[in-house]
Symmetry: C2
Subunit: 80 residues, 2 copies
């Protein structure tokens, strides 16, 4: 089973890396870019076929290790 | 218009950060995790409504700045 986990900064948290990306894109001529935010994509390969158990474990992995709940949000999808 | 860009290391490229995540998850008791890979998620907010033009610009942004084509793959989705 594969899972993709998306970890993003909460909206109210400043994202200097995203701002740098936006400025660089603007200076390359992509002036339509109004904002950029940079987050993490974590791809996991998991043993087992129990989707419900996997979802509950992934939730727990995010809370314990993969995301910082003070400044980050996360969501995930089970791919297959 | 919003776009999500996913930048991941090519399969043949070693991912020490992903390995560290896998080991940490294993030591937390998540022994079903066979592998972990860490990539980037870049969320862009774009002016304009022309989806075809946006896609072509995003392709170009990735090639010029957001991804390193030697070691990284990318894909993207236009959200709305």
């Amino acid at each position: 089973m594969k899972a993709n986990i998306f970890v993003t900064l909460k909206k109210e948290v400043l994202d200097p890396q995203g701002d740098a990306v936006r400025r660089s894109l603007t200076s390359l001529g992509f002036e339509e870019v109004k904002s950029a935010r940079v987050g993490k994509l974590i791809e996991l390969e998991l043993d087992g076929n129990d989707t419900a158990a996997a979802e509950s474990h992934i939730q727990s992995m995010c809370e314990k290790l993969l995301a910082n709940p003070v400044i980050e949000d996360f969501h995930y999808e089970i791919v297959d």
